[in-house]
């Protein structure tokens, strides 16, 4: 019986002019394009310097800004207003103001203050840009001091980013993108497929046959589970070939996590399709939760920086556990044993979601 149903699903899947292409093209496109654009690395911060000092030290700071790969020197002006108007136009992100007699007062030991004004419309670029600028200046000043004072002083501390040494945002994003792909291919598609059977009325014809609801649904899922595994394989290959990023940990653990997650999220999709009677309802329902999944599961922003009440909510979101498995195994090389609690949670969700899916499916209304 199941064989007959699977055969029909595969036939429909292949006949569909869109789906088979989607399964191949979608992951490739997402993996090729999105890692480049979903970056929080701030580069090319435009700086305008208001130099009222015209001293050796102010020239030195300007040179340093010019040399930095993160900062771009936009202009050096004589009044703050001139720089401010550039900032208003959006040409400048950060303004550094060097007051008159800065160098002189520095030598007295009570220097005037430098001021940094940042355009924080894009709060990320503004605040990080201001930080970069502050860092650059303090480096310059430290160098200056070590030259003038007899005792050599180095940096106060060094920072080392473990597991993602270059602090590439891409490395952080790629596991997340894999998860988004999973949600779409194995959560959305089976849900839409089931609802389309409702809309076309074909489900009515199936419901008067002796086919059990379990095998009917399972046949659909098996096809999409397989599609999900194909997608994740393609995406992993792209990550490796294009970005040279391969999992530090074992692929078996990644696939085990992915498989549990696929079953969970497809169960969730089935619930969505069971409680909605039109495509629109199903899409709306799915979108709502996918938004929550994407923004609250630690996919894009760390859970630790959420307010405490929100952190409790994340425990109810299955992607949270898969995100954690993916990142830890991918970047840190965590083992199955390290991830056992995440696997346990994911297993519980798999069971709960699919019991929910079975309960909400009714052949007779």
């Amino acid at each position: 019986m199941l064989k007959v149903l699977i055969k029909k699903e595969i036939l429909q899947f292949r006949r569909n002019s869109f789906l088979p292409k989607l399964v191949v093209v979608f992951p490739i496109m997402i993996m090729l394009v999105l890692p480049w654009v979903t970056t929080m690395d701030v580069r090319h911060v435009n700086v305008s310097v208001v130099d009222s000092d015209h001293s050796q030290i102010s020239n030195r700071i300007i040179d340093k800004i010019n040399a930095s790969e993160y900062l771009t020197l936009h202009s050096v002006t004589s009044t703050f207003d001139l720089s401010m108007s550039e900032l208003d136009k959006g040409n400048v992100d950060v303004i550094l103001e060097i007051p008159q007699d800065y160098e002189k007062t520095m030598l007295t030991g009570h220097p005037k203050r430098l001021s940094i004004s940042a355009n924080s419309v894009n709060s990320n670029k503004g605040s990080i840009g201001a930080q970069y600028l502050a860092q650059t200046i303090s480096h310059t000043l430290a160098e200056q001091r070590s030259m003038t004072s007899p005792e050599k002083r180095g940096d106060f501390f060094t920072i080392q980013n473990r597991y993602n040494p270059t602090l590439e945002y891409r490395n952080f994003m790629i596991p997340a993108l894999l998860i988004i792909l999973m949600i779409i291919i194995t959560g959305f598609l089976p849900a839409l497929n089931l609802v389309s059977e409702k809309e076309a009325g074909t489900i009515e014809q199936i419901n008067v046959t002796p086919v059990s609801r379990f095998s009917f649904t399972l046949a659909k899922l098996i096809v999409y589970w397989a599609a999900g595994l194909v997608v994740i394989t393609i995406a992993l290959l792209v990550a490796w070939i294009v970005y040279g990023l391969s999992a530090v940990g074992s692929l078996a653990v990644i696939y085990a996590g992915a498989f549990l997650f696929i079953i969970t999220i497809s169960g969730f999709g089935i619930i969505a399709s069971n409680i909605s009677s039109t495509m629109q309802q199903a899409i709306f329902f799915m979108f709502f939760f996918v938004m929550v999944f994407m923004l609250m599961s630690g996919l894009l922003t760390p859970i630790e920086s959420m307010p405490e009440w929100a952190q409790y909510i994340t425990y109810a979101l299955p992607p949270r556990y898969f995100v954690s498995i993916m990142r830890s195994v991918f970047l840190k090389g965590a083992t199955f044993y390290d991830m056992r609690y995440n696997f346990l949670a994911l297993t519980i969700f798999t069971i709960v979601m699919n019991i929910g899916a079975a309960i909400t499916y009714k052949k007779r209304s």
Binding site: M1, V4, L5, K8, L11, Q12, R15, N16, A200, G201, T202, E204, Q205, I206, N207, V208, T209, P210, V211, K363, R364, S365
Partner: protein
């Protein structure tokens, strides 16, 4: 023990919110009988079908199909009935052949096994078997749907408005096909909004807004009709109808094609009416007694209800 009745319905009721779709409906269908549910849209025909093929729960009442209770034995019923819903609901992205094979296999049979039963119908569309079901004409879709409903050799066939939206020739052909199936011993419950198709059934139930008005053979229905029925026409059909509705000896009058039909009481005098109409300016007035059709029976039953 052989079960005499193919379908037995006792006091079925079903409401959707405040709308009573079925109101204590009872009837039975004998084995090998073609039973027609005749009634306009909204009579509750589709609801009744869905309950009998176990797609919908009832609020009240019991029913058996092939001797099996629709509540308790729903699984067994699903294996024994063929259902053709009012809306085409096969897979439009699968071909004729694939649809047939799929539905046969779902019941654990192959197309070849029961080919004889479907052959008279299926052979008509077989030349196009590689064509996708979504690209078939209305008449071909109907034949495919019937073939798919028959392929597992059901003992009771449920056809919900099979001829709606199909041209007159195909409709007539379709009834011929049903007649052939009946000869093979199949019990058929069929619904239609077309009164003229009633005569193709062994027995019919006239129904309206969830109630069955009467059950009988089509010929008995007509025979039972007591009342003076006339056909009337003139040059001005619309003003004629208005004039008829003003006459006190006429119980009911309604349009029915070339002639208006009018149901008159015993004090009615055709000659008097003709003179009155002519003098009030109607030209070429023609009145004649007519033999009632199922439609007249239905309209009379409806007005009795009210």
């Amino acid at each position: 023990m052989t079960i005499e009745k193919a379908i037995e319905v006792n006091g079925l009721s079903k409401s959707f919110g405040t709308v009573k779709a079925l109101d204590k409906v009872s009837f039975d269908v004998q084995r090998g009988e073609t039973f027609g549910l005749i009634g306009p849209d909204g009579a509750g025909k589709t609801t009744l079908f869905k309950i009998l093929v176990t797609l919908l729960d009832t609020d009240e009442g019991t029913a058996t199909v092939d001797g099996l209770d629709i509540g308790r034995d729903y699984r067994a019923i699903r294996a024994r009935v063929g259902y053709m819903p009012g809306r085409f609901s096969l897979y439009s992205d699968l071909t004729i052949e694939e649809n047939m094979e799929f539905f046969a296999n779902l019941f654990g049979v192959s197309v070849e096994q029961n080919y004889d039963l479907v052959a008279p119908i299926y052979s008509q569309i077989e030349p196009f078997k590689k064509r996708r079901a979504g690209r078939l004409s209305g008449g071909m879709k109907q034949k495919l749907a019937l073939s798919c409903a028959l392929i597992h050799k059901p003992s009771v066939l449920f056809l919900d408005e099979p001829t709606t939206g199909v041209d007159a020739v195909s409709r007539s052909e379709f009834w011929d096909m049903l007649h052939n199936l009946k000869k093979q011993g199949l019990s058929i419950l069929v619904s239609t909004p077309y009164m003229d198709e009633a005569s193709r059934c062994d027995r019919i139930a006239l129904c309206n807004s969830g109630k069955i008005l009467d059950i009988d053979t089509p010929s008995n229905m007509v025979k039972k009709f007591d009342g003076n029925l006339y056909g009337i026409k003139s040059k001005e059909m619309y003003s004629l109808l208005k004039a008829l509705r003003g006459d006190k000896t006429i119980i009911n009058s309604y349009t029915a094609g070339e002639f208006h039909h009018l149901l008159a009481d015993n004090g009615f005098d055709a000659e008097r009416l003709k003179q009155e109409l002519t003098s009030s300016g109607h030209k070429d007035v023609e009145i004649k007694p007519i033999v009632p059709l199922i439609e007249d029976v239905f309209i009379k039953l409806l007005s009795n209800e009210r």
